[in-house]
């Protein structure tokens, strides 16, 4: 354990923004994310500068919302520059082939989901899958072939009624059967919000553990995809984080998705599983064919580091990985990258331990900034550090 950190709670404003190069361009032409990187570089530089100057490690709460973008400088927007699209960028980084789960097959995200659902339906005779358009395979092809294999009474379409779908799923789960509901886009989950928060989350508690809807899992495509605009891009995990009684999970890759989805289905609490839609085809990995489980509420340290902790989930994890390697290369900053995986209940220990080690935390997510889940993480970490430093002080004295 390093020297005791004196916690200075001030959120430092990093002064005037660095001058940003006017860069714009399509993804293929400019994968360098120069502006975003310049911003990060400036931040990291200042962080290091502070450290070198001998000040105590400041816990800077920096939250970067959204995918990194190459942006135009407004003043210099020329006619043809205005025609070029400003698009976000990430590069999916596959994990190495897992050895411990048997034979693997190359799958993308939607195939991994199909595989997980296939395993569940095979193992659990009470499992049913339902939602809008799931019978032919789903709008993202996550349920292709399941209806033919398991029958139309186990994989069936519902009418266009999200509140009905979730309420209906709660009913199935309460009797003990396994219900896997699909909401076509996370943006449409709001009619079902009442059912999730007021019914699903509270069933066990209000019945004194007599009844529960733990065998309910709700799946929904989640997150930014580039052309989704208002209603096909939302990331509503923060709304659900405010509700004890449910679990909220976001995988970063096909291997993670299959394991996490199987854990959600087996878990005895109602779970919401958000699948990053931009990764459905873009993410390809070796995924075990047999069922396996990845534990919920356990964050993973993907890359060890010593200078700053980067926390993200879903698509942003790949952005953070790229950020970490660029920081290492260009600034010599060693980043520790953590994939949170489960938003609720989240793994406080891993994140806090990491921040104790590095002294700095940066959280990045797609959803809006205010009230986004990063605010919960950062305030908890600050509290943790404060308590920890209090105890340490008492110990040292």
């Amino acid at each position: 354990m390093g020297p005791p950190l004196r916690l200075n709670q001030c959120r430092s404003r990093l002064g005037a923004p660095p001058s940003l190069p006017a860069v714009c361009g399509r993804v293929a032409r400019n994968p360098g994310l120069q502006v975003g990187m310049a911003a990060f570089a400036a931040t990291a530089g200042r962080l290091l500068g502070l450290r070198a100057a001998g000040t105590e490690g400041r816990l800077l709460r920096l939250r970067g919302a959204g995918l990194q973008r190459a942006l135009l400088q407004p003043a210099s927007a020329t006619g043809d520059a205005a025609q070029r699209r400003q698009v976000a960028h990430f590069t999916f980084q596959p994990d190495p082939e897992p050895q411990e789960y048997g034979q693997t097959q190359k799958m993308n995200l939607f195939q991994a989901i199909t595989s997980a659902l296939d395993n569940s339906l095979a193992k659990d005779p009470t499992a049913v899958i339902f939602g809008e358009d799931v019978a032919f395979g789903g709008v993202f092809r996550c349920t292709v072939g399941l209806r033919d294999k398991y029958g139309k009474d186990r994989v069936f379409n519902t009418p266009l009624c999200e509140q009905g779908i979730v309420g209906f799923g709660i009913g199935i789960a309460v009797t003990g059967a396994t219900a896997i509901a699909e909401i076509q886009f996370a943006d449409y989950i709001f009619p079902a919000f009442d059912q999730i928060v007021n019914e699903a989350a509270k069933y066990r508690y209000r019945s004194g553990d007599l009844f529960n809807c733990g065998s309910l899992t709700i799946r929904a495509p989640w997150g930014c995809v580039g052309h989704g605009a208002l209603y096909h891009s939302q990331s509503p995990e923060a709304f659900f984080a405010h509700c004890p009684g449910i679990k909220v999970v976001v995988p970063r890759s096909p291997f993670q998705a299959k394991g996490l989805l199987l854990s959600c289905i087996e878990d005895k609490n109602p779970c919401i599983f958000f699948e990053p839609k931009i990764l459905y085809r873009a993410a390809v990995e070796q995924v075990p064919v047999e069922p396996y489980h990845i534990p919920l509420s356990q964050a993973e340290v993907i890359q060890e580091g010593s200078d700053v902790t980067l926390v993200a989930w879903g698509t942003q994890v790949h952005v953070m990985r790229e950020v970490a390697s660029m920081a290492q290369e260009k600034l010599g900053v060693s980043c520790e990258v953590i994939d949170l995986k489960t938003i609720l209940p989240w793994d406080m220990d891993t994140v806090c331990k990491s921040v104790i080690k590095t002294g700095r935390l940066l959280i990045s997510h797609e959803a809006p900034l205010t009230g986004g889940f990063a605010s919960e993480i950062s305030s908890t970490v600050q509290l943790y550090k404060r308590l920890l430093s209090f105890f340490l002080k008492s110990f040292w004295m």
Binding site: P17, P18, L20, V35, G36, A39, T43, L62, G64, A65, G66, L67, Q68, R69, L71, L72, P74, A77, G79, A82, Q83, A88, E132, D133, F136, N157, P159, L160, C161, Q163, G164, D187, Y188, P191, H227, G228, A229, L230, Y231, H232, L369
Partner: protein
């Protein structure tokens, strides 16, 4: 005047003075001024009598409806083209095949009445008063668009037209609310609240029905039944496909939505019903869309090409009106062809504008989040770039 000139020319060319009545070509000035047509009787629910079974169409109205329907058709096809050329991105839901619905509805109500609909809204945007230019520019996301390029296909608005809604069924309670405002203000206006066969299964629609009936709101609930909710045919989605009866305690009627005159008469009927204070009413328009649900849907994986072509051959709304008008000598084929040419040109010009207009400036990215003076700063994706 042009016809007179053509008559003179052809007379000169033929070299023989002919009696006017025997002319059959362009030169004929013998248009009837109006004609009476029969309309299919509507199925009624909880109603004693329905709209009339005959109607009179004047030449002027006929040409107007023809032009409007042709414009909507051309505009949708142009939008299809622009989408494939990637000038329009995101989502685009086209309503070609359903032109009689938008034009007929507009013909049956006043400009002071209100309309709200779902995302398949381009036709209604045009009939409610937006120009083709502003619609296409909005689709391509340019400054000249009706929502300044920030709304896109599903969010186009104009006075007394409240959009364009992305979330299925969300416009139901909104329409009931607009109707409440009409009743409250006592101005004898009605609100047409359109939704589709898929949305008919949303809880919000049932809630809106209940509120409208309870408080006797002047709200016309119109179900545009195009037989498919995205890829799901109506029998697989709804326990009852008689959408005009789904209002339960609200009276309803079912109308052939491919016949613009039928839609017009029915709309007049339901608007009068609501204006007289009897409460809401449900109208089901049986129609068909030629394109798929959206541009990413080919539209033939859940229905056969033959089915689509069949509808095109037998019940195309523009063709039906054209046949009626030509057969009763309200207009000639050439005259209608001229309208086609003019419409094509108008849409071409609009598309040109839509492709070349500049996009809204980056400074406006964060405008109109709130209603605010003075402007406040909004952080974007990058920590140090703020928008006002």
């Amino acid at each position: 005047m042009r016809k007179m000139l053509a008559a003179a020319v052809s007379r000169v060319l033929s070299g023989v003075t002919q009696k006017p009545t025997s002319r059959v070509l362009v030169a004929s000035c013998n248009y009837s001024n109006d004609a009476m047509f029969a309309i299919k009787k509507c199925d009624l629910y909880r109603l004693e009598e329905g709209p009339p079974v005959t109607t009179v169409l004047t030449r002027e109205d006929g040409l107007k409806y023809y032009r409007m329907m042709q414009t909507v058709r051309r505009m949708e096809l142009k939008a299809d083209q622009l989408y494939k050329q990637k000038f329009i991105r995101g989502f685009c839901h086209l309503c070609d095949g359903q032109e009689a619905c938008s034009v007929g509805l507009e013909a049956g109500i006043n400009p002071t009445d209100h309309v709200i609909t779902s995302y398949r809204a381009h036709g209604l945007c045009y009939t409610r008063g937006l120009s083709v230019r502003s619609i296409l520019a909005e689709l391509t996301g340019r400054r000249g668009g009706c929502a300044k390029g920030k709304g896109g296909s599903m969010h186009m608005y104009v006075k007394n037209f409240y959009g364009g809604n992305g979330i299925v069924g969300a416009q139901g309670p909104l329409g009931a609310g607009i109707a409440l405002a009409c009743k409250y203000k006592g101005n004898k206006e009605v609100c047409l609240t359109l939704y589709g066969d898929g949305a008919a299964n949303q809880g919000q629609i049932a809630e809106a029905h209940n509120m409208a009936a309870l408080w006797k709101l002047p709200c016309v609930f119109i179900c545009e039944n195009n037989l498919y909710g995205m890829g799901t045919p109506v029998e697989r989605a709804s326990a009852s496909t008689d959408y005009y009866k789904r209002g339960n305690f609200i009276p309803g009627l079912r109308v052939d939505g491919m016949d613009v005159l039928g839609v017009r008469e029915a709309t007049k009927f339901v608007a009068d019903y609501c204006r007289s204070g009897k409460g809401p009413i449900v109208m089901e328009l049986q129609t068909y869309r030629y394109h798929g649900h959206s541009m990413s849907d080919p539209g033939i994986s859940y229905r056969t090409r033959e089915e689509v072509q069949n509808v095109r051959k037998k019940s195309d709304p523009i063709m039906l009106l054209k046949d009626r008008m030509v057969n009763s000598e309200l207009a000639t084929v050439e005259e209608l062809k001229d309208i086609d040419v003019e419409v094509r040109k108008e849409v071409e010009d609009a598309a040109q504008f839509a492709m070349t207009d500049p996009e809204p400036p980056l400074e406006e990215l964060a405008h109109h989040i709130y209603c605010n003076t003075p402007a406040f700063e909004v952080r974007g994706a990058n920590q140090w770039i703020k928008f006002k």
